[in-house]
Every structure is written in C-alpha cells, then in structure tokens.
Subunit: 384 residues, 2 copies
DNA sequence: GACCTTACCTTTCCTTTGGAAACTAAGACA
DNA sequence: TGTCTTAGTTTCCAAAGGAAAGGTAAGGTC
C-alpha cells in the first residue's frame, strides 16, 4: 500500500517525479545521482503497482540519440482527505497524491467537544468521498487532520489546542476509528509548509519559511528539507516575536508581539480606535484604507512594518532561500506589501536581504490541503 | 586516513563513542540500532587502524553474564590545529580527535594583508606543532581555520570578512599550501557550534542554539543534528534582530539591534554616557556596576533584557532543546543573568520557556578549538 | 538504403552492507 | 561441574545499487 516496502531508491525516484513532474529515466538518474540501471530497476515495480506511468515523449526533441520516454506520477493512484479543524468550523478537501483538491467542503461546528468534533470529521470525510464519487471503503488511502496549537504528530495526539481548549487528545486514533482510514494529525502551519515543500513555492528548495498572516500570525520552517517541529512542540512562532515597540498588549500577555499589531483582530481594533467607530469591521477598514483614510492607512502600514520585522528575524536567524507570505487577507495585501518589503530590507542583515519574498494567496481550502499533503507524505516519504 | 573508506556503520559507531565515551559493543548496538554482529564487524578494522581501542571493564559490574569489554576512541590517533583569525590576532590550539586542546598560543597580527595572515597562520601551526613535540610532517591530520563573516566552507573561501576587509579569498587552499596540511575553513560561530555539538553542552541534542555575547553577538544553530549555514551564508545573526526599542544606532545602520545595546562596545558607550566619563572602560563599568552604581547597573540590565529577547526569538522560532549562552564577559554575567532569564521567560511563547538556558564560559582558546572540531569532523563525519 | 552516431534504456554480474542466527566466551552460581 | 546469562564472533544470506556490456530507437551521412 505504501512505498515503504520498496528500496530507498524507489522513494527517491518517486519524490523526484512528484516535485519536478514528468522526467525521463535518464534525467531522473542525473538528478538523483542514481545510475540509469538503478532507475529502471526501481521504476519497474512502481509502474507495475500503478504508482507511475509512461506519459510519452518530451516536447523538446533532441537532434540525436534514442528519444527519451517520460514517466510521471499517477496522482490518482491514491486519494487522501485533509481536514483543518478550527474553533468554529471544519474545512475539508479530498485530494490526490499531489495534494491537488478534487472536492472541498466546509462544516460549521456547534460544539468543541471532542466526540462531536470527531464525528463531524468522519461525516465530512464521508461527504467528500461522496462528492468525489467514491464508494468503496478502501479507496481512501489516508486522512490528515490539522489543527493549530501543540500537536505531536508522532504520537498522534493534540497536546494543547487553545481554540478548542483540548489537552492531550489522541485525535489520530479517534478519527481513524470513526472514519475508517489511516489518520495522521499535524499542526496546521506545519502541514501547510509540508504542502508547499512538496507541491508549492518551496518545492526544490532546501530551506524556506512559510509565514501566514491572518487571525494569527505563524510560520513553518523547512530547513534542510525537513519541517522543524521544535523540541517542545513550539517552532515558527513569529507571531510572538517581540519586535514591535508599540505598547498594545497581545493575547499572550506581552507587549511588542507582531500579532498584537498585525493580526486581523489587532488591525480591526486599531482601526476602530483611529476612526472612533467601535463597530468597524476588517472589511470596512480595508475599504477606508483603499479610499485613502490616512489614519487607517497608518494602521496597515504599522502592521506591515511589524510583519517585515518578523520576516527579517526569520531571515537573519535561519537564512532561508525564500520566504512565502501567505494569508487570508489577500485583498488587503497592497496595503501592507510595500511596508513589509521595506522593513524587511531595512532589517535583514547582510546577504539575508537576498532572500526571496513571495506572496501567495491562501484560499480557504488551502489549509485543508496541508492535511492531505501530510497524509500523502506518509505514503511517499515513509519513516522519517 | 579518514573513515570515509569505511562503511557507514563504522562512522556511526565511531561517532557514538565520541559523544558518549567508552561503551561496550553490545551497548553501542543498542544505541545505534545495529546488530551486535555488525558492531563487531565494523569495529575490528577501526581497532586495527588504531582509531579505537579496548579500555577495560565497566565499573558497574553486572551480576550475571559475560562481562562487557569497553571500547573507546583513541583521541591521540589524529591531531588537528585550530586557528581563529580576528582583525587583531590569531588564536591557535593543537587538539586531538575529541578537540581537547594540547597546546594553545596567540599571535598578534601586524597586517591584514592576505599573504601576511596566511604566513602567520602557517607559522602559528608550526609553533603549535613544536609545543606539542611533533616533528614529522604527517602527524598533523588537518587544520581548521575559523573567521567571522561570510565563509563558504564547501568552496573553502572567505566570501566577505568585515574585520579583515577580505572578499572572496580562497583561504583554505592558501593555508593548505603554506602549512602543508589539509585545511578547512568555517565561520567562527558555526565552528564553535560544531564543537559544542560533538563535545560540549550540545552533545546528544538534536536541536540547540549557541549564543555568543561579546564584541559581537552571534549564534550558531544546530537543527536536527546539522549546523545551519543559511542559503546566502547568513544564519544565526541574533545580533541584528530588531528587538530593542532603544534608539541607539547599530554598526549595521539600524536601530533596535541587540548588538546596539548589548555588545561590549555598546555597553561601554552607554556606561560612558551614563557616568559622563568619556574614558570609561568595560572593566571599570563592570566594577562600577558591582559597586552598585544604579545608572551603570541599568545599562547592564538593558543589555541583559535585549539578549533575553534575542533568546526568546530563537526559542520561539526554532524551538531548541537548549540554548547555550557563551561569551567573553563571564566576569560580568551576574550583572546580566537575571535580566536575560527574566526577559526570556517573559517573551518565550508557550512551551518554548521549557528551553534549557545554559551559561558557559568562553576562554580565549575555545574559539580556536572550534576550528579543530571542524577539521576533526572531516575525519569522522565525512561527506555531509 | 546500409551504416554510423548518439543517447536512452535494460540486463547481467558483482560488490558492499548489514541483518539473522548459530556459536563461542567468560563469569556467577548452584 | 553443569547451567544460566550476557558479551562478543562467525557464518551465511538477502537487499541494494553500481559497473559495464548490450539492446534499442531515432537522426545523419555517404
């Protein structure tokens, strides 16, 4: 069922195809350092098992020599469900081996009770299955559940989730039993980072960071091809880097946190103070800023600067090749972007400014896609 | 000459012995996951080559069974020179396989000209050789040169050294030719981190950070057993994390840098302003603070807070098991320590506070020892 | 059209590596 | 002296991937 019973070179070949798309055997050999013979040897059983398939000739024909035959991953060979759990709702996708979504759905949560949520997850997975026209039980290869907070993916337990107020919940086991498919769980931002690492803007990079800006501000770090977890489950907490000199008190009790200035909530709050309108929403604040309101614009500018400082911290500390900035507030990016970049450039030290900043929208199902990526990873990158 | 021509398991066994000290073959098998047979097979050639040796019985005898025979690394099997280059002087040590210093020496530099420095390094290595009673050319297994700034250890070139004003100097090759022994170069803080990783407070930890506080403030990060280098040569630049709200301008041109508040130079400057004595030295500032001068104490307190914030950034971002704080100013640690810890605890997010803070003195030859460790690493951990 | 060249792919053979398991070794104890 | 227990060794074997020769499919050339 997985690639675990194949030789290591098989996983290498498969991963190379996942990341680079169709390649000839010879080219795979060159990229992986394997000999052509080894590639053939290892690719044959993968082909027999339906994991890969021949897809024809390269478009750019060479002048001489035997033409190459491209092989590619059969993405539909395995399907995965990804579910992101928040305090208010579940977001689910059904995706293939390359984490491409085939179906997506959202469900509101009435209760944060563990049993209720587990049941809702199982039902959502069933719904996704039905949407994609699956009936057999065994066609779903795995489920990946993601959730913000302290998640121990190895144990399969949610150690602590502030939004759900869960502690030490063996969620993987519970969902596996309720939904009837192998289940892995992971921190939401780390899962998103895994998705980017294999199938997104982080593909092929040895070190990159993914920063999400929205209700919270977090980051996933992929260093040397591995997403870091932190010894105590904490890593990538850019939201609480003490970089701002603004005196607003953060939810964590400190002042100076990025989140206290740049989270959706913080921006709304500040815009309310600036305008004197205590009912102002984020959408209205964005509209005001776009309309040119100087005070509201200043709020966004301050938020952008804080995010830029956070990015500079990441760049100075770990020196990633690229930082992917992602978030729900794509509509308002033009209000931040320049300030983010400027304050990043100002505070990145030396060659750290060469770090590539990429902005990437974060549609709602993207979060759930992270779960599918983590589940898929179990198949093609077994036993890390 | 190295372990590169031995099977991977040989390096594993050797590294286990390096980090844990003498162990029985059976115990090595348990720790590494190798079978007893594999351990024997792989240990025999190492023993024949003199890399390891039997050292007797464990002190804690077990009641039953055949007594174990301990084997241990023969540290004297290979000797290495480590040289740290600063703008003013060279610091050199001669060390064995475990980076234990056998001889140490310092030399002032009259010139920062590349040729002059290379020659001085070669002479220093010769002097160290003589001090340790070595005469034969081939008894020195390698030289490790460390230097602050942007060092590409794979290419063996100093990309940029601000203190020496060097750019793209192929230092490894130059020193190798001049001194007649295989030479590797590395960034000074990274080298120190390597030394701690194998032989110091980082041994056995999968993730830790080493922060050095002194003339500059820097950090080395070891994540998942690998010291991170940064995609553009920049990593661990805690000195320029923008965490302070003090308006002092840093050497990098920004305000808010940790270094602008907590470096030796910055502390001295601030103490001069506080006392009105423009000639005050660091030593006098320390004395004044110890004597209870409130304004000078406030300067140290501010520096401690800034360092604590930097540590919190490191903990929040990468979640190390331990942060090792090291620096020249050990004499003045009591002036910082509480403020460092307090501000770390205040700003570390969630479980990141569980990160272990360890203070470790940094004697002058420790820097050079890092070079020896890097050179030694080439022998026992080949081809990363 | 026969032959050459080129590069892709496959096959065969072989080395390296480390596990499995039987075997030997050494001390304690009955 | 035999037995028990754990340490260490040896033998055998299977897995994995490299080396190199051979087969294959195209274009080019005389």
């Amino acid at each position: 069922m997985t690639l675990a019973d194949q030789p290591p070179a098989a996983a290498l070949v498969f991963q190379t195809l996942l990341q680079h798309g169709p390649l000839s055997r010879a080219e795979i050999g060159r990229r992986t350092g394997l000999t052509p013979g080894a590639v053939t040897k290892v690719a044959t059983p993968l082909m027999v098992d339906g994991w890969i398939t021949e897809v024809g000739r390269p478009t750019t024909e060479r002048a001489s020599g035997r033409p190459a035959t491209l092989i590619a991953v059969r993405a539909e060979r395995a399907l995965f469900a990804g579910v992101k759990v928040t305090g208010e709702e579940l977001i689910g996708v059904l995706a293939d081996l390359t984490a491409r979504p085939l179906a997506a759905s959202r469900v509101r949560l009435d209760s944060r009770d563990v049993g209720t949520v587990v049941l809702a997850i199982a039902r959502l997975v069933d719904e996704l299955r039905a949407m994609a026209g699956l009936t057999q039980v065994d066609t779903l290869h795995g489920i990946g559940v993601t959730i913000s907070g302290d998640v121990d993916s190895r144990l399969g337990t949610v150690q602590y989730s502030p939004f759900l107020d869960w502690r030490r919940v063996p969620l993987a086991q519970l969902v596996e039993t309720a939904a009837g498919a192998p289940t892995v769980i992971e921190n939401d931002v780390r899962a998103l980072t895994v998705a980017e690492q294999w199938f997104g803007a982080g593909a092929g990079l040895s070190t990159f960071a993914l920063v999400t800006v929205g209700a919270g501000i977090g980051a996933g770090l992929s260093i040397g091809g591995r997403v870091v977890s932190g010894a105590h489950g904490v890593a990538g907490e850019v939201g609480h880097l003490p970089v701002s000199c603004v005196d607003r008190i953060c939810t964590c009790g400190n002042t100076g946190c990025v989140e206290a200035v740049a989270s959706t909530h913080a921006i709304t709050e500040q815009a309310r103070q600036a305008t004197g309108n205590a009912r102002l929403t984020m959408e209205e604040a964005v509209r005001l800023a776009h309309a040119g309101d100087p005070e509201v614009r200043a709020v966004f500018a301050g938020a952008g600067r804080a995010v830029g400082l956070a990015l500079a911290c990441v760049a100075n500390l770990i020196g990633p090749e690229r930082i992917i900035i992602s978030g729900e507030g794509v509509a308002s990016y033009d209000l931040f972007a320049d300030h983010i970049r400027q304050s990043f450039v100002d505070h990145a030290f030396g060659a750290a400014v060469d770090c590539d900043l990429v902005v990437r929208p974060l549609p709602f199902e993207e979060w759930a896609r992270g779960g599918a990526a983590v589940a898929a990873q179990r198949v093609f990158a077994p036993a890390k």
